[in-house]
Point group: C2
Chain length 102, copies 2
């Protein structure tokens, strides 16, 4: 299994609408991916590792799929629509990572 | 529920023993935390968001607890022992984040 993580780096003054992300954007992603997304999680950043520091990422989502190929097949056809929704909740450019679920 | 993420940033030439991390270090963490850790996941970084790029993090773990207080109460007394095990699998200094599970 692989995990695709999309993470929104914290920066002072940046905009992020957590309610829209949770209630509109993530349901869009999950609907478009269908059964290819086996599990998912959404995080809202609270704090960094040291007291009083901001989180590295204000928000992130993690999508579990059988393989990179399965993710690409399910996500690829919808990337334009999904990306077009991003300005509706943030002006942060996300970073991505693909991991093996150990 | 909160998620404590410990992430090991990729850097060229850095050392990370994934087998030790999976088979020795994570079981140590989970044993010491006991029932305070409700769920956990371990990731091995495969790739970045763009083709041919390295992952942001070579490895990470995510520990789910009821609250920050519950995490601190379970992890705090063992932080010295757990930190002392780190050089056995890596020379990377990890970064941490605390998130709310949405």
């Amino acid at each position: 299994m692989i995990k695709v993580s999309v993470m929104y780096p914290h920066s002072d003054g940046a905009r992020f609408d957590h309610a829209y992300y949770r209630d509109k954007h993530m349901p869009l992603v999950l609907t478009r991916m269908g059964s290819a997304c086996k599990e998912h999680s959404v995080d809202k950043g609270l704090a960094g590792g040291r007291p009083g520091t901001p989180p590295l990422y204000v928000a992130s989502c993690h999508l579990i799929c059988d393989s990179v190929e399965a993710f690409n097949a399910a996500f690829g056809p919808h990337v334009k629509e999904i990306t077009a929704d991003t300005p509706n909740y943030t002006d942060i450019k996300p970073v991505m990572q693909i991991s093996e679920v150990v």
